[in-house]
């Protein structure tokens, strides 16, 4: 519990924040909502659709060319594949990257505050050639972009 508290922040401070916890926390680190904490079910989901549903419910994602998903066309080492998601969509809340070829498709989700550019780079493991999927959630809608990556040496297991 200590650990959670440390990382919880006030981005969704408004609606449910109180929940009886504000009294024991500094104002800035307000309790996060359930949808806002580490998404256990989504990370354990074994299909792309299940992971997306666990994160964003039944909302359908609109294909968007305003998301730039950067990754190598061919990754020689699936254990270290550089991925960058960027977008010029306004009012971005979260950006998520998944792979349809991994045993557990959800790789990472970013909660982006207005103080940073909606552009995040990480490195991920890809078990096999797959489609990388980027999801961008704005105040209004959910958008997606897809990019195939060919992997010549997988990044899972042995």
């Amino acid at each position: 519990m200590q650990r959670r508290r440390l990382l919880q922040t006030g981005i969704t401070a408004a609606p449910f924040a109180a929940l009886g916890l504000t009294g024991i926390m500094p104002a800035r680190r307000v309790a996060a909502t359930a949808a806002d904490s580490w998404p256990d079910a989504a990370f354990h989901a074994e299909t792309l659709d299940a992971a997306m549903t666990a994160l964003y419910g039944e909302r359908s994602a609109i294909e968007s060319d305003r998301i730039t998903l950067t990754a190598p066309d061919i990754a020689e080492n699936g254990r270290v594949v550089p991925v960058e998601i960027a977008t010029d969509l306004p009012n971005v809340r979260t950006m998520t990257v998944l792979s349809d070829g991994n045993p557990f498709p959800l790789l990472a989700r970013a909660h982006v505050m207005p103080a940073v550019r909606p552009r995040v780079s990480i490195r991920v493991k890809l078990g096999q050639s797959a489609n990388l999927v980027a999801l961008v959630e704005t105040d209004d809608a959910l958008y997606r972009s897809t990019r195939p990556v060919k992997v010549t040496a997988g990044g899972c297991g042995g």
């Binding site: 990382l7 580490w38 990370f43 557990f104 940073v116 550019r117 991920v124 493991k125 899972c156």
Partner: protein, 105 residues
């Protein structure tokens, strides 16, 4: 700045701050076995990260075990200048926490 937890660089750029970090962490998937003994290696990965600029949260991330070993993270703070404090802190699924702090140059 560099320590046992990894490395972080924050550089003033375009009126903001470009942050790059390399965090030291095994990011074990849980599907690997110890060579020789075939003992499964337990899943061990960073779950939550919190990035702060002068004490304000600017980016929060949820990670799974699909993020690479010794993870890399780069992002750009919109407005900032040399001297500003940048911190990345994280917790993993085994309850361990780590932190990298630097001052923008």
């Amino acid at each position: 700045m560099s320590n046992d937890n990894g490395k972080i660089r924050a550089k003033a750029k375009d009126g903001g701050i470009a942050v790059r970090a390399l965090i030291r962490h095994p990011m074990e998937t849980g599907s690997r076995k110890q060579p020789g003994t075939e003992e499964p290696i337990p899943r061990h990965y960073i779950q939550e990260l919190l990035c702060e600029h002068n004490g304000d949260t600017v980016l929060r991330m949820d990670w799974g075990w699909g993020v690479s070993e010794n993870p890399y993270l780069a992002f750009h703070i919109q407005q900032g200048q040399p001297g500003d404090a940048v911190t990345i802190q994280w917790t993993d699924n085994m309850g361990a926490a780590g932190q990298l702090t630097t001052v923008a140059v």
